[in-house]
Subunit: 267 residues, 3 copies
Amino acid sequence: MPTIQQQAALNLTKLRETRPLVHNITNFVVMNFTANILLASGASPVMAHAENEVEEMVGFARALVLNIGTLTDDWVDAMVKAGKKATSLGVPIILDPVGAGATTLRTNAAKRILAETKVSVVRGNASEILALAGAQAHTKGVDAADTVDQAAEQAIRLAKELGVPVAITGPQDLITDGCRVIRVDNGHPLMGAVTGTGCGATAVIAAFSGVDPDPVSAAATALAYYGLAGERAAAGANGPGSFVPCFLDSLYNLTPAELEHDARING
Amino acid sequence: MPTIQQQAALNLTKLRETRPLVHNITNFVVMNFTANILLASGASPVMAHAENEVEEMVGFARALVLNIGTLTDDWVDAMVKAGKKATSLGVPIILDPVGAGATTLRTNAAKRILAETKVSVVRGNASEILALAGAQAHTKGVDAADTVDQAAEQAIRLAKELGVPVAITGPQDLITDGCRVIRVDNGHPLMGAVTGTGCGATAVIAAFSGVDPDPVSAAATALAYYGLAGERAAAGANGPGSFVPCFLDSLYNLTPAELEHDARING
Amino acid sequence: MPTIQQQAALNLTKLRETRPLVHNITNFVVMNFTANILLASGASPVMAHAENEVEEMVGFARALVLNIGTLTDDWVDAMVKAGKKATSLGVPIILDPVGAGATTLRTNAAKRILAETKVSVVRGNASEILALAGAQAHTKGVDAADTVDQAAEQAIRLAKELGVPVAITGPQDLITDGCRVIRVDNGHPLMGAVTGTGCGATAVIAAFSGVDPDPVSAAATALAYYGLAGERAAAGANGPGSFVPCFLDSLYNLTPAELEHDARING
């Protein structure tokens, strides 16, 4: 059995060989960046949100991203429809509960998706995950103040209750299915100064889920890859602006061997 | 009482310390760039446009951006709803009348927002402002040909009539509440070769309005900061493509002391 | 009569002198990149999709882009409405059938636009064009696997049947009105690693169609210009991330003389 670092390298190799189609129903702010992140990583992105199209599109996909930023009611319906189809086909669903806890629309949408579809991994920042766990989180818009440490216990409880693996990203990432707990230390603070890096992490978890059937392993290795690319990008950047092209280049150029060597995954 | 240059430095310091949440209802073309501009400047952006969410979201915000690009009727309704809530809460509203004068939908939307909500600052190019003033402007799509000079008199009249401060951006920026007239000379022509730099200026005025209760001072200092970042970015750019990452880096790295020293604000 | 290389230089000169307004009804993923591509090339972009606005907006335009990515039914209606107005005004319509062949919604939308409006050029990858020709294409999401060679014969047949010039982009671009067949060899593989480069090609064909009444010549010269800018950008890029700013800079800086010299257009 491979180590988790070896698994990371295997997943990245497989991703680039098979170029899995990742169907995204995601928010307007990050659509372009998400598509470029997926392409740079080796996946094939498609964005489609029409209710009369999503079931057909998800039939081609190896993973489905449901991201609730810039939400409206009709998008929630489309997400649930796509999610039900994905569930019936065994296509892994990665949920990004952007802004859950901030507004009723978003909190309810995330809960509805969790209730009506079989989510493979839910990825959020600490306060978003706390909101799903029903705790008293203080979500300030979509950029959260709560730390991973505060949320870890809740995440384990939430993963157990829902039977859904949870990934909390922040200075340290935490991935748990309620049983195993894995921590990833790759990453860089500049990632927090660029919009959509969290949403991009969700998309890369989806890409890895298209090649690795174990959601905990897929999420942990994806976040190590993503964070390592962020570290390398930050080394060459003068700020959040130059970080973006460097980051996409790093995602594109990072080799499986480098990932195996520099992934900091524990647990 | 601080000079306007000192006020600029104070506002930038306060912005980075308090990281005010800026709620944006803005067009699809610029959502990502606007969010990154706000993050680089020090603010916390959130985008939300659902009619059943905007009132809740604006309750967390320190400023609200209403931008009428890529408009449809339901978005106008959401903007008015958010704007009325902002008005009742005293949250400053910054209106960007993208393409006013070009189509009936946009001209009417801008006028409706001005009539039904208490706008703090309206920021546009010369022909958009002329359109709101009811003059014979020749808006060619969303990129205007009329100069600040032609529009200055109209802007003063408009600001007086509506009781709303007006900011016209162009080679020279003009800010007026109908009484005070301030001109800002920071900026660079490359900014006109990148989509969304005008919309970004509106968002940064919103961010500064979240820390400075005087709309004229907030707008003038924001535009000096924004234009100065543009000058610095242009110095390192080979064209509009490399300008963008340089610009975000400059917004991020520009210090209050540098702003105080290099802001060219007169009036 | 100028050579096609001389025509390319003439078109680029005219584009930058007249800055034609290009009205885009396009998908959410590429709106920002498309606008920046058009600005860098010398055109004036506007994005507008409301049914009660598109006719008015198209009245100002020199070309109309209809792009069916991230589609919904109401957008199809707006596209047809804008397209009918453009047809009546003689404004050239450039159709990008993103994902045709992948889903019924998209295939039907492309066919409806071709049936109800007078399209000037349809630009797609090989599998999208094959789908319009009714062949057994295997569209995998929006990134196609079929080669230009497989699609060339179908393209000629499709152009003849519909009376619409067809441009297929890929490693080699092919442009045909069913009679003339032109091939363009400019371009670089990195363009396939960035989302929206195909959609951007469509927009630049629209810009060139705003200054060149011959759709075959407009499309071929636009693709040579676009591909040449891609070659130059790739020379300075470390991956798809740094390619983007380099590409926009190259579109902006490329001179008519350089284009005339390095355009590889045959046929």
